[in-house]
Symmetry: C2
Subunit: 539 residues, 2 copies
């Protein structure tokens, strides 16, 4: 191999934070500082300089702040992220001939050596910098170079006074030769979110249960009546399970029964009927303007509305007829329903992301988010994201956040840790956690040590839920009211985001559908519950 | 952004070993296994497969061995490296539709469900694989697919017997669709060295001291007489300080005096005189054939000869006249000597790697190595590599090892830890360490924990020296013979490479040039010592 003609002497490595070699962004909140550290060194004993460069995605040119040497060749610096969106940062390092010269001059002066030749060498450095300088600064540099040349080599103090003059050092920094700088190979990204991405308290509630009488199902307008109650408990996000029309085919009855009564309302996650799909509101819940009214009421109390994003269909969803190609077929030509063998979920058709129709499907799913954004929604709780391809989420969230950086996506992925982390890396703003199953001190310590250390803490924002409509853990089942209190305090203090599924939580509802199950008895997923008659309205 | 039309579902990350995101190779010894682990996972619940791919640099096609799932989405596998040189490895992962189908079939069969449609789906998978198969294998696959279709959906055991038949599974693996595999983004390298790179015991000796009378200086032939003595102590590398002509200008006298006596031999590291430079042997030491005789004698005792590679020149080195452009100038036009202000080393001219003449200089320095290789030398101890650019070493060692993978380079870089590690990463086979200054249990524990853990252990092969001609540490100065014994035992047992500078070491020579210095009194660097008269010959 021929000898490479040029090389860069400075090495920059072991940059922190950096996720997967720069493949993924770190996350920060507006107003935070991004602290960056790196090992920066070169051969030999020259004085080095280093800087942190950063820019917002929309900006072309880098801003630069100095990195400072901490110790053991570790350098550190920081920049602030002011607004939601994407920032980039990288690092540069260089050998600094002027500072090296200046350091050596001081040592020689202290030893009483003759400095004549050193002053001449210094003058050469100044004249070289003058060539890169503005006309007026070049004049100054040439003037000082002249002084260097005239100085007596025995006048150590005179030499140091000149060499260490602050304005000269600023000019020599400003006009140093940058062509041999080492620039770190990766441009690293920061996803900057608004403050609620990091600090939020969620309350999940089924609007249809916002009623005090079995004769009338709760509506979005009834839900609005509960906003004050929710606000008084200190929550600032009100999350509604899917509010869309619910399928009739294979509808589930009370306690997940496959033989529903005609009056059973069905699971809100069996989305879609003749009355519409993911862009429609269940007629029994109300209208878009009812949703707007609820959103505005909530806003008055400092509460934001969050909707559910559950990308799956009931057999009655309009997509099934209009876009049969978005679903998988069984060998008999029927649509493939959801399965977890031997369990069958015949009321749910998963979407098929693995065929040539994927781009159209992805665009449609994006349009669902944009639809709700156009109706003022900025927070989405995403149902089971781990059963859809990673590449889809990265694309979807990237698309949405490039236009609406204030949008928050909460990943409901109760799956293997590395899959949960991957979803966070590729764009989810917050993530449900294993908190519900960490009850002992040892479990809590181990888990919270893991998620509050690098690298996890750089990309994963935990949201702690002591319960959900799917999770009534054994601790709550058996611990009575003290267990509910303890779990709430832990959720609210171990992390900056937490949530509860109420009113069952505050009512200390603790009966499982059967021994050994984490499902609620008479779960609201399949029937209307009259919590509000017994408690909430009164409160 | 338009939706990417295709994506790969499997993620491969957190690969171990991987140095600086694949920028550098790991090191292994011939005959060792390279164990590789990675996090490999996908969305959903499908069964995955994964393989480790590897090849020698000279081979075009990859060999493939399976990776096995250990737990928590961590997979592991290994391959052997047989011969010195460079190997590459990478990983691939995939979703396995047949194994997923087979797993689900077993669950459904166990639950007594009807399998008719599942068998048809299985047949479809077999027919798809048949299209990718050889003619005869395709026939087998079609035949089994036919059997699947004919099977009774209620015959669970029959279905499982067919689906789990080993030969079928081998065919379905062999002919699976590889087009959607995820291939890890980095091709990772392994530098494989011969066994002496990892296991070696070095003995450093000044040939000119191989004499019993002050009237006659030791020669390479005298040195050969000491080989048996060295071998009996169990060493297998005999390292000679530079054997080249020594400059007269600014020659140093006894104890580094600047006023040498006419008879003072000078420091072997002040390389070059009218008699030649880096490709010459000091006439007082002997000739190339004397060196060959020494090398052959050593070989008979299982000892390899190591030479010193000290890229610096005395003012009398032929390079100074012939290639003035390889040296830096002072402002008065004189050659810049080595400095560590306020210290001056006027007997040493460093080479200048930072100008347009660098390629010619680099080629010349490479030719020095090739010259000694052509005279049978395969081990080089490199003097102060940290004062030359990293890029130079990476190029030089890469060049040499691509042709002579058996060559060993020992880096004598007593500098900051990250610089030492960097030199190891970019190609040095072994490295001197801080061992000489780690004396207490706590110091030893801390240091050896650091260098025996990943990532350091993957690229850094320590060589432990209790003393060198530059280092007589305080522990040896003050501890007497027990200190020498303890330090030898530690050096020989804490690592797989160690060395001593003898005979002073085995003679327990412990007088420093002055209190507080680590330099030897009457150091052999500047004068001839008659160790051999007092001890070695008798032994």
């Amino acid at each position: 191999m021929t000898v490479p003609k040029s090389f860069r002497r400075v090495v920059i490595e072991n940059v922190d934070p950096e996720i997967n070699g720069g493949r993924f962004a770190i996350t920060r909140m507006t107003g935070e500082s991004v602290w960056v550290a790196a090992d920066i060194f070169a051969d030999g004993h020259d004085v080095l300089g280093a800087a942190l460069q950063y820019r917002k995605e929309s900006e072309k040119s880098w801003k630069e702040v100095p990195l400072l040497l901490i110790n053991n060749d570790r350098w550190e610096g920081q920049f602030k992220v002011a607004t939601p969106g994407k920032y980039f940062y990288t690092l540069r390092g260089w050998v600094d001939p002027f500072k090296t010269w200046s350091r050596d001059l001081a040592k020689k002066a202290a030893a009483g050596q003759d400095l004549s030749l050193d002053l001449k060498a210094g003058a050469q450095l100044l004249l070289a910098a003058a060539k890169r300088a503005s006309t007026s600064d070049a004049g100054v540099l040439r003037e000082v170079a002249e002084k260097f040349s005239k100085l007596d080599g025995a006048d150590g103090q005179g030499a140091l006074d000149l060499a260490q003059y602050e304005d000269l050092n600023l000019l020599m920094s400003a006009y140093r030769n940058r062509t041999a700088d080492t620039i770190y190979g990766n441009e690293l990204a920061v996803r900057v979110d608004r403050q609620r991405a990091r600090f939020s308290s969620w309350y999940e509630m089924f609007p249809r249960s916002c009623t005090t009488t079995p004769e009338r199902r709760g509506t979005l307008r009834d839900c609005a009546e509960q906003v004050e109650y929710v606000a008084k408990m200190g929550f600032d996000v009100l999350y509604l399970p899917p509010i869309h029309p619910i399928g009739m085919t294979e509808r589930k009855g009370k306690n997940n029964s496959t033989t529903p009564a005609p009056s059973d309302p069905g699971s809100p996650w069996a989305i879609g009927s003749k009355q519409g799909g993911h862009k429609s509101i269940h007629p029994e819940l109300g209208t878009l303007s009812d949703l707007q009214a609820l959103r505005e009421k909530a806003q008055q109390y400092g509460i934001e509305l969050a909707l559910d994003l559950a990308y799956q269909c009931s057999p009655d969803h309009p997509y099934v007829k209009e876009h049969r190609e978005w679903f998988r077929s069984r060998p008999d030509g029927s649509v493939q329903y959801a399965e977890n063998p031997p369990k069958k979920y015949q009321d749910i058709y998963p979407l098929d992301f693995e065929n040539e129709h994927y781009p159209a499907l992805a665009e449609e799913l994006k349009s669902v988010v944009l639809f709700w954004i156009s109706h003022g929604i900025r927070i989405f709780r995403v149902d089971n994201p781990h059963t859809k391809p990673f590449a889809f989420w990265e694309w979807l969230i990237g698309e949405i956040k490039s236009e609406f950086p204030e949008v928050i996506f909460l990943a409901e992925a109760f799956t293997r840790p590395k899959v949960m982390y991957q979803l966070a890396k590729l764009g989810f703003t917050q993530s449900y956690t294993y908190f519900a199953w960490k009850n002992t001190k040892a479990e809590l310590t181990e888990y919270f040590t893991e998620i509050t250390q690098p690298p996890v803490r750089e990309f994963f924002r935990p949201n702690l839920w002591p319960n959900t409509p799917d999770i009534l853990n054994e601790y709550l089942q058996k611990g009575g009211r003290p267990a509910f209190i303890a779990r709430l305090v832990l959720a609210a203090t171990l992390g900056a985001n937490y949530g509860i599924y109420g009113p069952p939580f505050e009512l200390c509802e603790n009966k499982p559908v059967r021994e050994g199950s984490e499902e609620y008895l008479d779960s609201e997923k399949y029937q209307i519950r009259l919590w509000h008659r017994t408690y909430c309205v009164a409160a």
